[in-house]
């Protein structure tokens, strides 16, 4: 074969190779604006047998799942719930900080106090330099002294701290359920009352156990680190609240209460309707025959016109 023929053949081969490579790497680029893209997507879903409503739901689900759009309240509900349950803990921590600061002023953050009986009454005696402190300036206080109680020192102080935490939990629970009712169309006042009742119940049970356990554990100590009781109350109280809420199926219980309230409401409505009907009937009876009505009212035999 001549050189010319060889080069022609190889050229043809090369052309075929190029053609094949181009053919295999052919892509169609379609430029669409957002409206055209949505239209295209809807058509593809339609061809797959989905109705328009189903396609809209499908798009919503994807967007929610990818967090491009969100039902913010529903999305953050559990996070808010967890966060808000820690607010009473924060309040107690602030109190703890105040006590620690006060003790530090007196010379030592972990200063001890002693409980001694004078004239048959228990007194708290603080160690350290009383004059340097700003709140607890004395060296000796009655355990029932409001200042001592407000600092969570002694048995009464522990009880006061627990009470404060309980009230705070009730306020938070009520606020949380109010938001739920405002933002969730399906929630009604029954759910609000049911939910708050359960939360109050849990807080009461947990606070009661924490109060008793901590007071018996630290309240009876003759000498104790002043910040100790508050920390113990904060921690045990929080743990027991969390534990009680986990042990009880609180949601089922709240739903049962709210359904019970709905039943009571329905019963009242039905009774009111019955009363309204009866009143109307009596009114009609009176209008038709006033004299006969008065006779019947007092149970006197009457032989006149009957309603």
């Amino acid at each position: 074969m001549s050189t010319y023929a060889n080069s022609t053949t190889s050229q043809k081969k090369r052309q075929l190779q190029i053609q094949s490579v181009l053919k295999n790497n052919q892509h169609t680029f379609v430029q669409m604006n957002s409206n055209e893209f949505m239209g295209f997507m809807f058509n593809v879903q339609k061809l797959n047998g989905k109705s328009q409503t189903e396609t809209i739901e499908w798009v919503d689900t994807i967007l929610i799942r990818k967090q491009i759009i969100s039902k913010e309240w529903e999305q953050y509900k559990s996070a808010v719930k967890t966060g808000s349950s820690l607010i009473p803990l924060g309040k107690d921590m602030v109190l703890l900080g105040t006590v620690a600061l006060e003790m530090k002023r007196g010379g030592n953050t972990f200063s001890k106090y002693q409980i001694k009986m004078y004239n048959g009454k228990p007194n708290v005696i603080f160690k350290g330099y009383a004059g340097l402190r700003t709140q607890l300036k004395g060296t000796k206080y009655l355990t029932s002294n409001p200042k001592v109680v407000s600092f969570g020192i002694g048995k009464l102080g522990v009880a006061n701290t627990i009470k404060g935490g309980f009230i705070m939990t009730v306020i938070i629970s009520a606020s949380f359920h109010s938001f739920e009712q405002l933002l969730n169309d399906k929630a009604t006042w029954h759910d609000f009352v049911g939910g708050v009742s359960v939360d109050i119940g849990i807080a009461a049970v947990a606070s009661g156990i924490a109060w008793g356990a901590v007071a018996t554990y630290v309240g009876g100590a003759a000498a104790m680190v002043a910040v100790g009781p508050i920390l113990a109350v904060v921690i045990v109280g929080t743990v027991l609240t969390v534990l009680t809420s986990v042990l009880m199926d609180s949601d089922a219980l709240a739903k049962r209460i709210s359904d019970g309230l709905r039943e009571v409401e329905q019963g009242i409505k039905e009774k009111l309707l019955k009363i309204k009907y009866e009143t109307k009937r009596i009114e009609r009876s009176y209008d038709a025959d006033p004299v006969g009505f008065m006779y019947r009212l007092f149970g006197i035999p009457y032989f006149g016109k009957r309603f």
Binding site: E57, T61, I64, R65, K71, E74, Q75, K77, S78, K81, S84, S85, K112, S173, F176, H177, E180, K186, A187, D191, G195, V198, D199, I202, I209, G212, A213, T216, Y217, V218, G219, G220, A221, A222, A223, M224, G228, L231, A232, I235, V236, T238, V239, L240, V242, L243, T244, S245, V246, L247, M248, S250, D251, A252, L253, A254, K255, R256, E263, K269
Partner: protein, 194 residues
């Protein structure tokens, strides 16, 4: 640091002490029972269960049980009484130390478990969960199973899901929708909401 190793007079009655010891013991037993339940629930992921009731706080809460144990021990010592300030201080210190561990483990566990469930294809369904502080997180492996109208009948619907799981039936979207509609109709009829 010198400790005041004072012997303390008993300030509580035996009855009182026994009551709190029993309550705290019950709490510990309850916690371990819930832990067993929770592990069982998480194992359902491997079985491809369509719905899970997750309580993220249970596993980290176990770390706080020794603290309750210390409290029981402290109260027991109060009853005996062989209680010293030094031992009280050590007990309180132990309770204090276990709390940050609990909080840190809760944060890490929450992040890990939610990521793992997300990887397994589960997403949270807030319509099946109420607003109570202790309500469990409901996770579904198909977003279509999370029906907004199911909120009012969520407890009955969750019971139905549990029944289906126990019978070995995997509910389809149609089955769930039909059941939800039935329950909602019955609910509306019961409370005269139609």
């Amino acid at each position: 640091m010198t400790y005041i190793n004072t012997q303390i007079n008993r300030v509580i009655t035996i009855k009182q002490g026994v009551l709190y010891i029993s309550l705290l013991t019950l709490c510990i037993v309850g916690c371990f029972y819930t832990l067993y339940d929770e592990v069982g629930m998480l194992n359902r992921v491997y079985e491809g269960a369509v719905l899970l009731k997750v309580r993220i706080v249970v596993i980290p809460l176990v770390l706080m049980m020794p603290a309750l144990g210390v409290l029981i021990w402290g109260i027991t010592c109060q009853i005996l009484p062989n209680f010293t300030v030094h031992s009280t201080k050590r007990g309180v210190f132990f309770i204090i130390l276990s709390f940050p561990i609990f909080v840190i483990s809760l944060l890490i566990y929450n992040w890990q478990i939610m990521s793992w469930l997300d990887e397994q294809g589960y997403s949270e369904c807030s319509f099946y969960s109420g607003a109570s502080l202790g309500a469990a997180k409901i996770m579904v492996n198909n977003p279509y199973l999370c029906i907004e109208e199911g909120y009012q009948v969520r407890i009955a619907l969750l019971d139905w899901f549990e029944e289906q799981y126990l019978q070995g039936i995997t509910p389809t979207i149609d089955m769930v929708t039909t059941k939800q509609e039935q329950l909602l109709l019955a609910y509306n009829e019961r409370f005269d909401l139609l």
